[in-house]
């Protein structure tokens, strides 16, 4: 297994009976995340049967259908609730949730903060493209102020959520932010998110040229990736830069890493005591 590389490795994990091509547009970052997820799972040596990928609705939600794991494509915003049920029912399973920014922070915002609070042992990958892609380019909770979308023709007037701060404050065990441009770092973050106990969140900046880029004066997907490269700054360096000079920079890296046991661990320990075990 260890000597297969690149696309060969990806094919090892794709579903042979699924009708391809996929739904992602040219320049979309979601396919890179899919590759990163597969490399991470392969790198950890997990069995396909022990991995369950739960996804919400939208472009990111379609990701689950392509990979040969136990996969559940849920209702909009509710992926974390399904994942909570699966993890409580099968505590030894690696439950990985793939959500978009609207999925996780708008319709599913309540589930996100409570999954973090109860520290359920699932890993949430939040694919943040700052826009509602599949629905046709309306603004999302992370659309930056001033950005244009189908529903903010005069520019977004609302503030946007900072996913990392939100999940850290809500009590997640592991919080990291990466981007599809810095893919080696992303692989490491996903691997660490999966192995760390309790609730883990990896926010992944993944550009959407079709819906966001075009409306916000990016000439090509390449230009969006170049902007992403410039924007994403490792947290250590970000902290050294004076606040006035930070501009559009976004810190990336691991923000929270705690070792608290997940809810399922604590529950089954309690249940064993109730049943007169050790």
């Amino acid at each position: 297994m260890a000597d297969i590389k690149g696309t060969q490795l990806i094919h090892e994990y794709l579903r042979h009976n699924k009708k391809f091509p996929h739904v992602f547009c040219a320049g979309c970052g979601h396919g890179i995340v899919l590759g990163s997820l597969i490399r991470s799972i392969h790198g950890l040596g997990l069995s396909k049967d022990d991995v369950c990928v739960v996804a919400g609705i939208g472009c990111s939600g379609r990701l689950a259908a392509y990979v040969d794991f136990n996969t559940v494509h849920t209702t909009h915003g509710r992926a974390l609730t399904f994942a909570t049920g699966i993890k409580m029912a099968k505590p030894n399973m690696h439950v990985i949730v793939v959500m978009g920014d609207g999925d996780s922070m708008a319709i599913g915002g309540n589930h996100l903060i409570h999954a973090a609070r109860r520290n359920i042992g699932v890993t949430a990958l939040i694919l943040n493209n700052n826009i509602y892609g599949m629905t046709g380019g309306q603004c999302s909770p992370t659309t930056p102020s001033g950005s244009f979308s189908m529903t903010t023709p005069a520019g977004q007037m609302e503030q946007s959520f900072d996913c990392v701060e939100l999940c850290s404050a809500a009590g997640a065990n592991y919080v990291a932010r990466g981007s599809v441009f810095h893919v080696n770092k992303l692989d490491a973050m996903i691997m660490e998110g999966i192995t760390n106990p309790g609730f883990g969140v990896v926010e992944i900046l993944s550009p959407c040229f079709t819906q966001y880029g075009r409306k916000n004066k990016f000439k090509s997907p390449v230009e969006m990736y170049q902007a992403l490269k410039k924007k994403v700054t490792p947290i250590e360096r970000f902290n050294e830069i004076p606040e006035a000079e930070r501009g559009e920079r976004v810190p990336s890296g691991v923000f929270v890493k705690k070792n608290k046991p997940g809810l399922e661990e604590k529950y089954y320990e309690m249940a064993a005591m109730c049943q007169g075990g050790e």
Binding site: A65, T81, T84, G85, H114
Partner: protein
Amino acid sequence: MARPKKKHNKEIFALGNEAVVEGALLAGCNFYAGYPITPSSEIMEIMAQRLPTIPNGAFIQMEDEIGGIGAIIGASLAGRKVLTATSGPGFSLMQENLGYGCITETPLVIVNVMRGGPSTGLPTSPAQGDVQQARWGTHGDHSIIVLSASNVQECLEMTIEAFNLAEKYRTPVILLIDEITAHTREKIIIPNENEYEVFNRTLPTMPPEWYKPYEETVRGVPPMPAIGSGYRFHVTGLTHDVNGFPTSRADEVRELNERLFRKIDQFLDDIQLVEEVDTDDAEVAVIAYGTVARSAELAVKQARALGVKAGLLNLKTLFPYPRKATEKLLYKVKTIIVPEMNMGQISREVKRVNNGQVSVRTINKVDGQIIAPAEILKVLTRV
């Protein structure tokens, strides 16, 4: 002195809500997720105490009812027998995922202890206002099984029934009870293990690479492996092909939707449970369900004592609506009376089946009070 004969059955003094828990555990329920709401909360509270004491039992209180039904769908896909309980407002929140349960063919049991409505309504008063919501609350056209219970013993029995039907037909099953039954305390008999049937979902026997998760079978119900058991397949709320992948091809869409109806509609005799009281020579019949059926039973007995040939059809299955049992009555009686704690949600079904053959009288009450036997007797003796 002779020792008293050992009782084989356990007798307890229980609330309707407690009986639901007993029934669920007897049926093999080992997972509960939900959100507390009056008047169903006792079900959740007792589950929180009982489930950790049974091997593999799991309980979780979610952040809302949407989370509650989401978690039980996940757990059911992972092979558990799952329950959630709620009341009207919470049931409304569950509707979207209820449809998800239908299209993904996930066995679920949802108990709705009905309270007065609309909206927050009358949290501690009885009503039967969620009957059509149970049938048609979620979006899209679909088949579903809705049961009811009229006393505490029936709460236990119908909960077992709900689990069996859910597992047998791979579908969500809704048990509607009302606040009176849920909060009435009476003596019930807990059956021995061999006295009732427990049905578990059919597991696939073919090797994983041959398995098609949504393939047609003789019964229309495909076998269902648990997540993590070696059968890796895709579950989606999108209309899917036999492999579980999204499709919009007309033939595949039609095949799935028609099978979802067919798998329930061709087994009506197994699903449509009714209880008939004095209907053999009846000239006037009451069709009722839930607590009202209990009032009606007494009213029928009293009417008989007064010389009125009255009978009762107690609907234990509300949907698919027991058409056959109703049609049988239509040939015998001159009048059918349908008392309900709503403005006519089941009388609508009765009238549909009746199609103008005999006179249908309704008694409707939406003031948060029970329909007393005397109110039904009054109509029985006047027709």
